[in-house]
Subunit: 438 residues, 2 copies
């Protein structure tokens, strides 16, 4: 099975764990079979591999997520990198060109497109395989998954099938309705549109060439920023006559809010947290080093991260976005291709961060125009390169770098350091990258 | 008026703002007339000075609070330092000896004893003056303040006066009762015992010499650790026949729990915090640099500090102590005589703290046996002394100190530095102090 997972952009609905650079699908919140915590993307990836060990998985995403995806899924996963965000049709077209031109997939092969963040059981992935096989038959140009509704939701679009068979031609699509209309749809046999569909690769490439002027993957990639933003639904689905829908009746959840997310959590407390015996329906997700103590609360979510602290009634938590939009807070934590960093002190004229490099990794060789830096290695071993000079470093070593000086650190073991940045204009944009000189 | 304020020990009922080394009376939580925040002790001190500009104020407290008291009240305030905790009778006796022998107060003068943390209006301090004048008259050996009860509290002891006059002999004292008994006491004209009383200095000195073998203040101070722990109530009040009570009918609150404390707060949010429009009766007290967002909560207190995060139903907050006792958390923040420090990172084999020195102050000249240290100055100017070598330092300067090396920093302006401690056994007890060698 060829599967493309669409990994969406930044989101604030799960603040303070998600933010402008960390999307909800990367939050490690689900207890996996071996007792460690995994993210939505790790869970889905593991489930696909379990359903189909030979699955060819490609993640379609933006540049900003590539480091995190490699950190969480390893270096083997295929990634179709969108140079910028251009909505779902260009993203799927780019992924299709990537599969054909980079990965050499036979254009007659079927491809399944699926969001990266459904919370589902293993049967869902068996159903994706069935969807792929149905697309391969070529009875229709597109085969959609229709999820049997469990309540008249206003959050989803609806698919109305022509008949009640497991596979049926699609009669019509309906936008997100109000509850009354949703009840009416459901009485007519409507299914939720969960954004999952399959097609043969050559079908999508043909559509792409019809709507966009490009020769191959490289050309499409180069032109990507010039493309018009357009959704796959609008560009393809609404105009296509030959569409089938396949029913899926198993568990399917969209974990977009704290309320739905905590329903899927096995434990009430992740991280340091204490619930007293008068708490009911309280969840704590705490990424800080200090404890959270909750007393006498009912149906409340508490989440603390280096970005901030949320305490919300679970129902209310779905209205979080405008409040978070109003918070001006610099990025306090980020995963990078080489590890991660966390801001631990902000002062007028200085910023102190804790940097963790994974064993075998190094940050870019770079310099800053407007700030000096001091590194104090606090654990691990590695090598620093400063203006071309290579030096072994270990816990306790201090490296001072003036503005303009080129520098990097290469971790032999996992290596942690405290970096003090000093200057009147400290900005993440003040960075020039260089090729390593050794 | 001579007034001794009893500044009690550490408390965990206002965790995470109070802890083993920061008592509730030092939390800056009340908006003062100039718009800045002041602590209980600052508020009371200001109110006393307003009621009696010539008041001779002494704070009876333990060694651990001396730095904070000087930071909050200045260097002029009198402090009677208890070398160790020995309950209220030895503490009051030591303060009395301090007033007589160190401050030269005439033994015929009256002294008022009062807790440092009542939340009261200015009329209370006028009442303390009246209490002092009544004690001076010598009609009784002890004059207590009796607070007119506003409800049948189980939290206070009761004083039953002989008559309903403003000043009356005391008939009897009652321990903390249950609600029914409290109602009965109140129907008999009982008053709350708020721990406020006055006597002539020579009365107390006589009592002290009767019960303890000492010559003068210095001798008592030297013997303090050998004294028996005994309360003033048990040692003096219960045995004294000649006691009057003076009524006080004004506002009086004991702010011992989050519930009562938030009732006294003028604002719902101190620090970075957002309440959405469905919050009712919610208070946020946030000492962290990142925001707290509260949504859809009712009658909840949220408090965040470098020690931890509390989210509690207000009623439940009075049951906090056993939960906080169960938390093992190193001290993350402390005020010192020279400024303050905050732990910003803890790693196996290292700890990073941010140190703020007040202008004109310096830390002790000291060394550590088991850890190296690195200082990075991030703001201000000063001088470091390292193994006797004096050096001017400014923002950006780096000082490395190996274990055993003697060091201090003297702040010319306010000076902030990041200190990275490195070693396998990092402990606050690993410190040898020296006389400065310059």
């Amino acid at each position: 099975m060829n599967i493309v997972l669409l990994s969406g952009g930044s989101g604030k609905r799960l603040w303070p764990l998600s933010n402008d650079i960390r999307s909800k699908q990367f939050i490690k919140i689900f207890k996996s079979e071996d007792g460690t915590y995994e993210s939505m993307v790790q869970r889905v990836y593991r489930q696909i591999k379990k359903a189909d060990a030979d699955a060819n998985i490609t993640i379609a995403t933006s540049k900003t997520q590539v480091s995190t995806i490699h950190n969480q899924l390893g270096d083997q996963v295929g990634i179709s990198v969108e140079p910028c965000r251009r909505d779902t049709f260009p993203a799927i077209a780019l992924a299709a060109a990537y599969l054909a031109d980079v990965r050499g997939i036979d254009p007659k092969e079927p491809v399944v497109i699926c969001p990266v963040d459904p919370y589902v059981e293993d049967e869902y992935f068996a159903s994706l395989k069935a969807l792929s096989l149905q697309a391969k038959k070529g009875e229709a140009n597109l085969v959609l998954m229709g999820i049997e509704p469990t309540y008249p939701s206003e959050k989803y679009g609806y698919i109305i099938p022509r008949n009640s068979g497991n596979i049926s031609p699609v009669d019509t699509f309906k936008e997100k309705p109000d509850v009354t209309t949703a009840k009416d749809y459901i009485s007519r046999g409507a299914l939720w549109n969960g954004g999952v569909f399959a097609f043969r690769l050559n079908y999508l490439l043909k559509k792409a060439h019809e709507l966009m002027d490009f020769t191959d993957y490289e050309d499409l990639y180069a032109k990507y920023h010039t493309l018009t933003k357009i959704s796959f639904d609008y560009a393809v689905v609404e105009k296509e006559k030959s569409i089938q829908v396949m029913r899926f009746a198993g568990q399917w959840k969209d974990l977009g809010t704290w309320n739905t997310l905590t329903e899927a959590m096995e434990e009430h407390v992740i991280g340091k947290g204490i619930l007293n015996d008068t708490c009911r329906g309280v969840h704590i997700i705490n990424e800080m080093d200090v404890p959270v103590l909750a007393m006498g609360l009912h149906d409340v979510i508490i989440s603390a991260s280096p970005e901030g602290i949320l305490v919300s009634d679970k129902e209310q938590s779905s209205y979080i976005k405008p409040y978070v939009d109003g918070i001006e807070q610099q990025i306090m934590f980020a995963e990078k291709s080489w590890g991660s960093f966390r801001v631990i002190d902000v002062e007028n004229g200085s910023m102190t961060i804790k940097v963790t490099l994974n064993a075998g990794h190094c940050m870019n060789y770079h310099s800053h125009r407007n700030r000096d830096e001091v590194w104090v290695v606090v654990s691990g071993n590695g090598q620093t390169i400063v203006d071309g000079m290579k030096q072994s470093v270990k816990s306790g070593d201090v490296i001072t770098m003036t503005a303009g000086c080129r520098h990097t650190v290469i971790a032999e073991t996992e290596l942690k350091l405290i970096e003090v940045q000093l200057g009147s204009e400290i900005s993440v944009h003040d960075k020039q990258k260089y090729q390593l000189e050794y």
